[in-house]
Symmetry: C2
Subunit: 438 residues, 2 copies
Amino acid sequence: MEEIKRVEPRTLSGFMELLPQDQIKFNEIVQVIKETYELYGFLPQDTPIVEASEVLLAKAGGETEKQIYSFKKGDKDLSLRFDLTVPLAKYVAQYYNDITFPYRRYQIGKVYRGERAQKGRYREFYQCDIDIIGDSKLSIINDAEMPSIIYTIFKKLNFGKFIIKINNRKILNGLFEELNVADKMTDILIIIDKLEKIGIEAVKEELSKIGVENSTIEKIEEFLNIEGSTDEKIAKLKEININNEIFKEGLNELEEVIKYVRAFNVDEDSFTVDLTIARGLDYYTGTVYETNLVGYESIGSVCSGGRYENLAEYYTKKKLPGVGISIGLTRLFYNLKELGLLNSEQKSISKVEVITMGVGVENAVEISNMLRENNIPNEIYKEDVKVKAKFSYANNLDIPYVIIIGEEELEKGLYTLKDMYTGEQEMLSKEDILNRLK
Amino acid sequence: MEEIKRVEPRTLSGFMELLPQDQIKFNEIVQVIKETYELYGFLPQDTPIVEASEVLLAKAGGETEKQIYSFKKGDKDLSLRFDLTVPLAKYVAQYYNDITFPYRRYQIGKVYRGERAQKGRYREFYQCDIDIIGDSKLSIINDAEMPSIIYTIFKKLNFGKFIIKINNRKILNGLFEELNVADKMTDILIIIDKLEKIGIEAVKEELSKIGVENSTIEKIEEFLNIEGSTDEKIAKLKEININNEIFKEGLNELEEVIKYVRAFNVDEDSFTVDLTIARGLDYYTGTVYETNLVGYESIGSVCSGGRYENLAEYYTKKKLPGVGISIGLTRLFYNLKELGLLNSEQKSISKVEVITMGVGVENAVEISNMLRENNIPNEIYKEDVKVKAKFSYANNLDIPYVIIIGEEELEKGLYTLKDMYTGEQEMLSKEDILNRLK
């Protein structure tokens, strides 16, 4: 007999692989997100994970490009997608003539970034994205719909209190223009974006390092310190009377978004204006969002996004403005599990295990099929083992009910239903079992 | 202004990317498969797409290995999974102590093979797999459950008549042992597997080429020609009285599987014994299945699988027998579309578009939320365009209903519901609209 050379089975670090109990919970969350996206009429999208490098990296550069999984197959340069936005841009440019605008799509799928391995950082992770793309223009009201969708999802997911933070990049851009630091805008935004993580003193230090003058830093700090209720913040922004068109445009947009966010019935407690949010990514041009789980701010934003003026400029001359959000599900799941917020109790999909005792397994088919036809997941235990082992299976998987079929049941045309939590059992007709389990 | 270097947006050949109408249909099929797998109690599994080459290719070799997408990232040799069976084997070996056996799992996901580009051949494609893995042993009744699951799925999918072909490798193995060509077994099985594609004469020629004697070829042909009903075939197999233990074991197993397939209520018309099925893959050891759409045999098997004695021998010493099936969904979808069997009529997820005429969009929120709370997907049209364009959107996406809110509706506290197919419209209360649409 040939000897087999065995390999240690292992999963790459930075790649999430779950045991059934966690996978069931993970899929439940995906289902809530997907259902909500669909209830808002978003169309499904499923783009390839592998794309031509030339296409995928048309825009990329810097940090992102270094992290990309690129490789050759034959004479082709290929890459694994690193987000779902670039594939969306490609798709909209490619199928422009087949698409009805505003194009509302969702995509839930895996993306790849070769980040340094670190607790809670994944190299393969799910993004759950929605975007609304307009053809040349797109109403600002769409920017207000995004928070209402975030709100609906996190209410349903029930992980506790959350807050959606809303800002408008134009307010910051206008301010910096007014402060004569427009040339350092991108760098300043990236620094401000770290405020929550590193604190105001570190932000000031970094601003100083890139050559922002102290008097300007003070004004930026004063601005970032604007506090109060949503309406108070907006009032203060008006009062500071910055005579800059971009600033004014941003403020108007923010006011409009807030008005409609309220119209969309988002609880006043669940959203706020946060002038410190910039979203490092340079393609956001207007409204930006982040979402925090209250009390767990350290895990960072669990749902972010914003408005961009030109989705697909690297693929087409058409102007395609859009607004979107993304939930980084793999990381969120990891954090929820670490924090003990998951409550993943369910170890089985089956609600019922059907077992036979001293009679053939074929006697289990009728009741099993009937339950299945009534959408009750169940399975027939088919192994030839002792009765105790048949019950162990249900115990190990926390299957809530066992149906037992033995000689007595066959004679009487009945089934014994055992509640595995209470231990109670009763001989019942098919119909009674169905009513009990429904 | 910086000029942008544009890239032609394109999708790699061999990678399926669908427009919304097809994607909706594709997802519907996935949903039927997933729901059915879950109704049978299979647990979800989601393994990484990227694995260490050493782990993924522990067993692979020959044709498969050439097709694999392998690459380096840093100093790591990585590969994209080429099926869902190897990741399953790895998973079961790796988490053996956490798994309750028999382990019933499904995985629906993308796999990668760099096959030569060809119509209907994909390099990225979905497999939809279920497997039942036993710890050291697994009842033959599991082999009979597989056809009942295939049956349930293809009944629900409703693509027309289909036939599940069942065989047992041991019957063929025993026969070849008896004919003294056991040393050529694998080659012979691969040739026989092509019977449907290339015909009996070509099969005989190929057998001759690998050195099978003419008298033996005649006996193989005679065997492959066994015809009649399922019971007649089994009776004939008994009559030919081959005195070989493996043959007898295979015949017993086949009889047992057929008995239970019937017990599982699979229509007599939807399955058959087909002695010519071998499944080229060398890891099948007992029962094997293929499924054909009747009248469309040329597209090949749409659901195949079988029994294997040792799933994870390259990762563990534990004996882990299993049985499983796989639906190659991307290819199936391509073929169904080519054959016009898809009936993908639905272009939108939304059942209702809510539009305002001369009043603010905020007035659309209440009815939209109410519909959503009642699981009716809908969307508010938010762009500031002419009324005609608002209706065009519903027309282009075949959204069946439009709800119109204007001044009159606001005054009366009613909504106008327009049926976009009949053109009829009526002013109704919220509650009446809900009843109409439910």
